[in-house]
């Protein structure tokens, strides 16, 4: 289903989505982030600082509450997410491609109840990138593109005074059907214009990983390479690159205690991070990935080798956040290219 949406009718579409909580990019303290929409929907953002992964995989998820009952077994009460149905506008195609990768992780062999409960309640309305939102975009290097529909329910393309809106999935059709009257049929010139816009977007120069399909083999051959320590010498071991990554999914589980006698509390999942010092700390004190070099290898290996070996696609979607936000300039494109060049 392909329609035309006049830019002036965008708010009408959002308003018509009454049984959804509509989220869209908005700026708070200079940071673009997804916020519930109250007022006009803004799509003039570059890209949000954090990817939309929080809608299906929030930083904090309560699993269950536990309560000690005198003389009885502790009582567990499962706490399933009560997330409303979300319609998230302004999702960039690279973040869209992160969604199937996260779906894969949380459903391969074992289904994650909490992730799936949230995931089936989210519809992603993508916005194609007419020009790269960041200086460090490299989606084309990892099989993506500024107009990819992978993982999105709808893809909107900005044609100046109107959007070309294409439904990708049934959920997308349903979103558009909620406000059928705000759309109009695309004319032949609209079709031509959107093809031109897409062609121009794809042709726009961007940074590149050199021959990315050889990356898995090159990385595999460089496990013991001294380059890792050298490339990570400036790394400070913070969590920016992974917490802001659309496809990082590692988590930790902790119990939060609210009362000691009788014992009462919650078991909670929180994001975790392979760049943190104690991520691989054994209870003996041995840490197989002590230095930042080994941790950089783990992150880059996961993005360009391990995931590829398991699922046949790179885990990295080329959004460039880890490059842009690294306080000391660790650059994953530079790392993969350098390691590949010097691979045995």
């Amino acid at each position: 289903m392909e329609k035309i949406l006049d830019k002036k009718r965008l708010d009408d579409w959002a308003a018509a989505l009454t049984n959804y909580e509509v989220q869209a990019p908005s700026q708070e303290d200079g940071i673009w982030g997804f916020q519930p929409v109250n007022g006009p929907v803004r799509l003039d953002h570059t890209n949000t600082k954090q990817p939309p992964k929080e809608f299906a995989f929030p930083q904090r998820e309560v699993f269950f509450t536990f309560e000690q009952i005198k003389g009885e077994a502790p009582r567990l009460t499962q706490v399933l997410p009560q997330a409303p149905r979300h319609a998230v506008f302004g999702v960039r195609p690279c973040d869209g491609r992160g969604v199937p990768r996260m779906d894969k992780v949380f459903n391969d062999h074992v289904e994650d109840t909490y992730y799936n409960t949230r995931r089936k309640n989210v519809a992603y309305v993508g916005l194609a990138c007419n020009k790269p939102p960041s200086a460090n975009c490299f989606c084309l290097s990892v099989g993506g593109s500024p107009v990819s529909t992978d993982g999105l329910d709808v893809l909107m393309t900005d044609l100046g005074d109107r959007y070309f809106v294409a439904a990708v999935t049934d959920a997308g059709k349903a979103l558009m059907a909620e406000a059928a009257k705000v759309f109009s049929e695309p004319s032949a010139t609209d079709q031509k214009q959107v093809k031109q816009a897409h062609a121009a977007a794809v042709a726009h120069p961007q940074r590149a990983v050199n021959n990315p399909d050889q990356a898995p083999a090159k990385l595999k051959a460089s496990f013991k390479s001294p380059l890792w320590d050298e490339l990570a010498r400036a790394c400070i071991g913070c969590g920016i690159c992974t917490f802001l990554c659309p496809t990082c999914h590692c988590f930790d589980i902790n119990d939060e205690v609210h009362g000691k006698a009788p014992l009462k509390g919650q078991r909670v999942r929180t994001w975790d991070n392979c760049q943190f010092p104690d991520f691989t700390m054994h209870s003996s004190g041995h840490n197989p990935r002590e230095g930042t070099g080994a941790r950089l290898r783990q992150r880059v290996g996961h993005k360009f080798q391990y995931f590829y070996e398991n699922f046949g696609m790179h885990q990295c979607v080329g959004c460039g956040r880890c490059i842009t936000e690294c306080p000391v300039g660790i650059d994953i494109i530079n790392v993969v290219n350098k390691v590949a060049e010097n691979a045995a």
Partner: protein, 144 residues
């Protein structure tokens, strides 16, 4: 709840063992009546009170935090209360800076002989906390 109990502020009081804790004992021995809102935590010296104790008390739900110790010059360890004076000044200013009500944190000097003053300090503190209501700025959220 049958009828709305009046709001009773919860106070965490770090009392130095040598003076203020002894002062509070004297208040008890002398049968002085004063509000029982303060949960005393005895510390060797106010100099031993780390700002983290105060932040943690607020984090766990305290409505007010009191730090009380020996008057300047009386410190059993000679300099403990001088060092405390600086640290507590800094944490007080930081709490003010982020917007926590000024009256939620208080420091006092109460010697072992000042049972009456201790009772008065706690009474004044409870009265000042009453209008502020429960502290929810730094408090950890209970359930989801």
């Amino acid at each position: 709840m049958s009828e709305q109990q009046p709001y009773e502020p919860k106070i965490v009081a770090f009392l130095c063992k040598w003076c203020s804790s002894a002062g509070s004992d004297l208040a008890g021995v002398s049968r002085i009546q004063y509000p029982a809102n303060a949960t005393p935590i005895t510390v060797p010296c106010t100099g031993a009170v780390s700002p983290m104790y105060i932040l943690s008390a607020f984090n766990k739900g305290a409505d007010g935090v009191l730090v009380s110790g020996c008057h300047i010059g009386d410190c059993h360890y000679l300099e403990g209360n001088y060092l405390a004076r600086r640290k507590m000044y800094l944490i007080m200013k930081l709490l003010d800076f982020i917007g926590v009500e000024h009256d939620r944190f208080r420091m006092s000097w109460v010697s072992a002989a000042e049972g009456a003053k201790f009772a008065q300090v706690v009474t004044d503190f409870v009265n000042d906390l009453q209008p502020l209501g429960p502290q929810d700025k730094l408090k950890r959220a209970e359930s989801k």
